[in-house]
Assembly symmetry: C2
Homo-oligomer: 265 residues x 2
Amino acid sequence: MFKKMLHQIRGLLLSSISFAVSPKLVTYARNPPNSSTLEVGDSEGNGYDSHCLSWRLAVEANNVRGWRTVPARCQQYVERYMTGGQYERDTELVVDEILSYVDRIVLPGDGMDAWVLDVDDTCISNVTYYKGKRYGCDPFEGAGFRAWAGKGECPAIPGVLRLYKKLIGCGFKVILITGRDKERLGQVTILNLHDQGFSGYQQLIMRTPEHKGQNAVAYKSNVRRQIVEGGYRIRGNVGDQWSDLQGEHVGDRTFKIPNPMYYVS
Amino acid sequence: MFKKMLHQIRGLLLSSISFAVSPKLVTYARNPPNSSTLEVGDSEGNGYDSHCLSWRLAVEANNVRGWRTVPARCQQYVERYMTGGQYERDTELVVDEILSYVDRIVLPGDGMDAWVLDVDDTCISNVTYYKGKRYGCDPFEGAGFRAWAGKGECPAIPGVLRLYKKLIGCGFKVILITGRDKERLGQVTILNLHDQGFSGYQQLIMRTPEHKGQNAVAYKSNVRRQIVEGGYRIRGNVGDQWSDLQGEHVGDRTFKIPNPMYYVS
């Protein structure tokens, strides 16, 4: 019996150790079980992340604008969000919602139904680059980003690639609009997109000297105006920045892909 | 020494019990530590909530629209969100953001700077009512809501009351716009707001027969047009529904207060 008791005690000790090595214990250590912070943790995540979750929510709801960097205390949070699975889940749910909207559209068949997609962190991902910028805790730096983009190694965002293929298959004229500079990044962007499965689009519109000095909303609005003046109907518009989705001729419906790493005005 | 050892074992046993009664253990029970679901749980919350977190995020980002009820699987999630602390945290962060915007506004002092606030689940809370509607898993039902609102017992949302007092103190003309029916709920709404500390506003605008048949965007746009035609500048606009913040004359800047319980078109 004593042996059995020892065995049980050993079991309890081991289970305590398994708690001790679990990341959850960090939460307990910082937030004792009776604290209200832990209650937050219970419903929404590790207690010490609840502020960063609020911040991320406010970014996605366009309540927090014009931020230059991710708050320093949220670096680890954003890293786990982007790499731990929740970013993919959030994106997949948005894509499912877009696809159910697409399924309700009846195309008249004149070939003038357009769909606008942003490129960076909408079609293809820069998470690898932003890892080196502490997931957005370091400010944007143009030359470094261009060096990264110049490699042409941005991977497709799987959910958006799935959407893209559906749109092409349905007969939408997909128009990609990016703030990337045509002269410096035109060729590599075309190749990167092609390598990742984004082929068959109607047009890839990039920044040229004529767009110089325009912020994202103005540039993208101008481009969309030309699309509409060309006789197209913009049935949908998807981007990771609110500046992709605001201004003029935004489209019949807009969808925001999550991005807590940077903000483009 | 044996006594000390027994004491340590007792401590371990007690800490195991405290884990056993903690809601966290439910997560472990449903999601073994090695499952990918738990990884999501580690970064964003209980593993089995990660879909509902994605849904809530998509609601706040205006990606999911026109929904009639909260998904059944998210009832417990929304309950915990609304009552466990994260809703308050999310709201407080938005209010802090609004206040930092307010602090940057220079009022010309002509008394024509207006601020628009929605009422239900912006200034005062209906969470108690929605508890009886399974936190939004049951569809909206007008008579029941009017009976609840008719009691005049909606509590202030603390963060928004804090904002309200700041706005009044700064000299903004605060205009409350609500979809509540003036004839049936006018008097009790005025009293409820007053009891909860919302006094000194410029105007409370409610639905009258002239707004019949208008959806929220049309009704609120019409009302705001009259405000602007009256010479006011709408410097800010806060609501828990995207329909509060869209349409015409939305104001210089809009802010979305979280609400995963219902959707108003």
